[in-house]
Symmetry: C2
Subunit: 345 residues, 2 copies
């Protein structure tokens, strides 16, 4: 298996190294040959090549079996000609990654660390399906001295494919999809609602479907997060809502994500950003990236047992109280990674 | 004083009546002549006239000293040719209401009802300035069978005026403004950030200014809401974030809003929606609308003492435990209104 590593910026390199080490141990243990190759993206790529997504990186990702990314961005590149984030957006587009999956399970061990009351977050088990290649992210932008515009754009096929992915996942879960839009204001949202409603009726009538407005959803996710199973939404709303709920489980450092296309390689990355303030200090929580590696095994390499084994090891380590500082623990990035590796062994 | 009432849909009429009764008592007590006239908006207006904002309503609002609105919308008008919400958007535009203010103070009496831990929400005292006449709400929309678009659009003067309003308010508060955008993706956000930065440097250098991305802000508002004083943002982000924080204080039924333009009449309405499920049952919390009436007195009629008197009465009533069902109390809409009126007397 050919796995591309994109360490990126800030804490990206240290958490990517952590996940690579875990993958290497899994490879040894289960007898798989994981070949890792490292490539530049984001600010690190701008510094070396002037481009946030060098052609070599793009080509390697597209030709790989899966991509594991750390994080991109940081104040160092503010005001520069190219922005690190462009690299992330460009690789999503180049790989055709249209569905960003963010699973959230609130661990009973950590529920008390949530800013929300324990009785509200305990037992939360949901997954966000965020559309990743459309919306305001990729529409035309204009700028004059006096005026700026961004175009939010969706086509029927773009909505259909992510909708199908969400309903398919709901089938394997509790059978409920909540589709989020702003249909009382946006034309793209009205199209979104129409398409989701039609795909539901034609292909997934046994799944429960509800529609919610993004503003009320921002409320409901705090008041009653347990009610949700699969949340389906467009690019920008998905960005905002998935970050909002990322705090429910106690630390954003725990959360993985998977970005998937139509059969090609997927891209896997922690939810957290580059956190330049703690970069290089062995302080970052590696769990989000390690769990992203588990998603990589499951979704791109179809190695289900291997993925389960990483997830079980992480759960055991957290249950034993071996945690990084963001969770009130005393372990550094390396020590937390070693704890996971020991648990796998 | 000529006050236009727009009861609208769902619980709108009963909460508008509650606030009008409170205003009438204030008028008697302080010797002001409040003239009320009722007009149609939203679904109620569609039912009677076919238009969500009849011309008579528009003309009355523009000629008034202030407008008090209940709520618009409901499933009854789903799929119809005209949407009730169009009426709300059109009156905002017609009155030139560019700044929507949503103050949030978490009452010590109600902090325990928040989904967040008491130690996180206690003492929260912030105000959101949402830009109200630009962004994706009013940009051009297109639709074909296969494709939909919404244009998000901002001009420099649009950003300047709401920015000045936010900084002026920060001066009278704790002196901090947090401007929220998505400058790593949107051109309108980059313009937003430039203009806010310039107005700050040129006109309000003594105020503390920070910029935040909308996705991280959705997180921070749950993790550390006490850190914020004035939050300044564009139309759609303001819609989402202000609804998100509306749950912090225990019930959205408590929260007022003011929409202000350049010197003309303002429009005042509770944050909550039309809640058709409880409409006409004397169950709605009238406090959000009553506090909106207080904002009307303060901002449009410049009757500061009168506004204070309503706010003090509401605080006393809540402290005494006289609450509607959404707050765990036993009072109906009418009884809760009477309690506030008794406290004023
Ligand atoms: C870095 C940024 C462009 C990106 C996004 O908005 O998609 C990030 O917030 C994310 O969610 O992956
Ligand atoms: C009803 C709707 C159009 C409106 C908006 O999005 O502005 C509402 O959510 C609000 O916040 O006042």
């Amino acid at each position: 298996y050919n796995i591309v590593l994109l360490p990126g910026d800030g804490v990206g390199p240290e958490v990517t190294r952590a996940a690579r080490d875990v993958l290497a141990v899994i490879g040894d243990f289960y007898g798989h040959d994981f070949q890792f190759s490292e490539h530049l993206i984001g600010g690190a790529a701008i510094d070396e090549t002037g481009e946030p997504l060098p052609e070599a990186t793009r080509a390697a990702c597209v030709a790989s079996d899966a991509v594991l990314l750390g994080a991109v961005g940081g104040p160092k590149w503010d005001g520069g000609k190219r922005r690190p984030e462009e690299g992330l957006l460009a690789i999503r587009k180049a790989m055709g990654l249209f569905a960003n999956l963010r699973p959230l399970q609130v661990s009973p061990v950590l529920a008390h660390r949530s800013p929300l009351k324990k009785e509200i977050v305990e037992g939360v088990d949901l997954i966000v399906f965020r559309e990743l290649t459309g919306g305001v992210y990729f529409g035309e932008k204009t700028r004059t001295a006096d005026r700026a515009t961004d175009l939010c754009e969706y086509t029927v096929p773009e909505i259909e494919r992510v909708t199908r992915a969400a309903f398919q996942t709901a089938r394997q879960r509790r059978g409920k999809v909540t589709s989020v839009d702003k249909a009382n204001v946006m034309e793209t949202s009205r199209l979104w609602r129409e398409v989701v409603t039609r795909i539901h009726a034609e292909e997934f009538p046994e799944i429960e479907l509800e529609h919610a407005l993004v503003d009320s959803m921002a409320m409901h996710l705090i008041r009653k997060p347990r009610e949700y199973d699969v949340i389906l939404t467009e690019n920008m709303f998905g960005d905002i809502l998935s970050d909002e709920i990322s705090v429910l489980g106690g630390s954003i450092g725990l959360l993985p994500s998977a970005s998937l296309g139509a059969g090609g390689p997927g891209l896997f990355e922690p939810i957290h950003g580059s956190a330049p303030d703690i970069a290089g200090q062995d302080l970052a929580n590696p769990v989000g990236t390690i769990l992203s590696a588990a998603l990589l095994l499951r979704h791109s390499l179809k190695l289900e047992d291997e993925a389960d084994s990483i997830e079980a090891a992480v759960a055991a380590v957290l249950a034993a109280g071996a945690m990084t500082a963001d969770l009130g623990g005393a372990l550094g990035t390396r020590a937390a990674t070693e704890a996971v590796i020991d648990a796998i062994r």
